[in-house]
């Protein structure tokens, strides 16, 4: 297989729907075909060659697509991606990696709102910050992120992992208010500070606070029984992310069950 390197000539004046930038779909195209791939811009369609300089990447396996430049007006990058590797070298717009089910998306800059929402599988890594509503549900949907791994090296905005159902979200920086609100299941691990109301309305799932302890709402009940076995399994898995997560397994655990306002089978995990 092979791939493409796309260099943005200049940021577009209007927002672009970039869901057509799929590594696997573009890899098999000849140069002429790739240059004619259309990206939606409002009611218009813009050919790829009008926005980017294209360069072929030979012998890339899995299929690779590298996009370079200020992509902050490009939305839906990696939309519903199922295979291949998408490297986004620069800031990106909304819905980055949304709905992806496989493959790997890497963003070296910041991502705007709704990154990784409705994600089902694969791995999404943002080296900068993500905006609000990352790893949540698509507007109108009941379920948020439902699989895969989403790592944020910077900070996350409000409502991170709202309605999340499955998968793992790891944030190395801080998170905004209402982190993991209405969470159905899954794992969120946070290394920095979090805003108010973490786990608000969570039914099941685990939130790991590797950094400062959060302010725990009165609708969470402290648990003093042993959950060491489960903690070792989870902490050893999170250790793969390194940094503040590498030493989790050696720390003693405090637990709070909640949110008792709803089902109450979720947990705030606060290693000491």
């Amino acid at each position: 297989m092979s791939g493409w390197r796309l260099r943005l000539r200049a940021p577009p004046r209007l927002r672009i729907d970039a869901r057509a930038l799929q590594p696997a779909a573009l890899a098999g195209l000849a140069r002429g075909e790739a240059e004619r791939v259309a990206l939606r811009q409002g009611r218009d369609a813009v050919p790829l060659a009008e926005l980017f300089d294209l360069e072929r990447i030979e012998d890339a396996a899995p299929p690779q697509l590298v996009v370079e430049g200020d992509l902050s007006r490009f939305d839906h990058l990696g939309w519903c991606m199922s295979e291949g590797e998408l490297q986004l070298r620069g800031p990106v717009g909304d819905y980055a990696g949304a709905g992806m089910s496989g493959g790997r998306v890497t963003v070296t800059g910041n991502a705007a709102d709704l990154a990784g929402c409705a994600m089902r599988g694969g791995r999404l890594e943002v080296h900068g910050d993500v905006g609000d509503l990352a790893a949540t549900a698509l507007p109108g949907e009941m379920d948020g992120m439902r699989g895969g791994t989403f790592a944020v090296r910077g900070n996350a905005g409000a409502r991170l992992a709202d309605r999340m159902r499955r998968g793992t979200v790891v944030v190395f920086g801080d998170a905004g208010d209402f982190m993991a609100s209405r969470m159905v299941a899954g794992t969120v691990a946070l290394a920095g500070r979090c805003g108010t109301h973490p786990g608000w309305g969570m039914r099941r799932g685990s939130i790991v606070f590797a950094g400062p302890a959060p302010t725990v709402a009165p609708t969470f009940a402290p648990l003093h029984s042993s959950a060491d076995v489960f903690w070792q399994l989870l902490a050893r898995d999170l250790a793969q992310f390194g940094g503040p997560f590498a030493s989790l397994a050696r720390r003693r655990l405090r637990r709070f069950a909640g949110d008792l306002a709803v089902l109450g089978k979720g947990e705030l995990l606060v290693p000491e």
């Binding site: 299941a185 794992t187 099941r204 959950a227 060491d228 399994l233």
Partner: protein
């Protein structure tokens, strides 16, 4: 063929395909892991009446287990995947779930998945919780010492059951000593268990019986009390005691390696140690697809 004046019979052990799995049981310390392991693999000597053949493969150090605690690796073998699944559920449910501080995990990477904790979780009466960690689903069942963590499924693979060695010796002391030495050597081989008490069986059986209701009966050909009485006796007057070691393994190679180690340990004791002959049980080669020829194994060395 003679090694150290021990005759190696020109025969072979005939073994069968079985369904097998490995379960890793961990606990707060090795003692409790062993309690659970012994209990879960109890009454599992032969599929003739136990439902499965099971044993403790080996102790596991903390760095070898998923949760970093000491544990034991159990191997279970049954004649069908369905029966194995039933036995796993019963034994883990009654002997591991019940044992303080334990947790249970799949010990194989690949194979057809059968329920390990999938149904045991209902013991939690609604308080159980599922957790997917690293793509693996675990169940957390609240129990009185905290929680029982159990992996949802365990892979089942095709194993080999019924590899065997017959040690023909001059007396009880000599036969026990040779069998014990052989079992010690065979337990060092990964992927095998010797399911009988202490790894040794004295009631070797043949297929069928004069009584229609029995599917197996005493192996009269190797009973020293039936020399000159049983028409099929294979013993001479020097043999006073015969003990058998049965081997179940995850692969044909593992069973062969264990038999090789057992033969080597027995012949090391030699005729001076009271070991006269080494033989094996088979059914003419028509029933089991795996044939372990003793002379090939003895010649290949341990």
């Amino acid at each position: 063929m003679q090694i150290n004046q021990v005759a190696i019979d020109d025969t072979f052990a005939e073994a069968f395909a079985m369904k097998a799995t490995r379960i890793v049981v961990t606990a707060h310390d090795p003692r409790w892991a062993m309690h659970a392991g012994v209990s879960a693999t109890g009454f599992a000597t032969s599929v003739i009446a136990c439902g499965c053949e099971a044993g403790i493969e080996r102790m596991l150090e903390p760095h070898e287990t998923p949760d970093g605690r000491p544990g034991v690796a159990l191997l279970l073998f049954a004649t069908s995947g369905k029966e194995l699944a039933r036995q796993i559920e019963r034994r883990v449910g009654q002997c591991v779930l019940t044992c303080p501080t334990t947790a249970a995990y799949a010990g194989l990477a690949d194979g057809e998945a059968v329920a390990l904790g999938r149904n045991l979780r209902f013991f939690g009466d609604g308080w159980q919780a599922s957790k997917v960690i690293g793509g693996v689903r675990y169940w957390r069942v609240p129990v009185m010492d905290g929680e029982f963590v159990v992996q949802e499924t365990t892979p089942v693979v095709k194993g080999v059951g019924g590899g065997n060695l017959l040690l023909l010796c001059t007396g009880t002391d000599e036969a026990l000593a040779a069998a014990e030495a052989a079992v010690v050597a065979m337990r060092r081989v990964p992927g095998v268990i010797m399911p009988f008490p202490g790894g040794v069986v004295r009631s070797g059986s043949k297929v069928g019986s004069k009584y229609a209701s029995l599917i197996a009966s005493t192996n009269d050909a190797f009973c020293p009390s039936l020399i000159r009485l049983a028409p099929r006796s294979e013993l001479d007057d020097a043999v006073r005691c015969v003990l058998e070691i049965v081997i179940d393994g995850l692969t044909e190679a593992a069973v062969a390696q264990a038999m090789r180690a057992g033969i080597a340990a027995a012949v090391t004791r030699g005729a001076a140690g009271g070991v006269l002959r080494i033989s094996a049980g088979n059914y003419g080669g028509k029933l089991g697809p795996f044939h372990f020829h003793l002379r090939q194994l003895a010649g290949a060395g341990p």
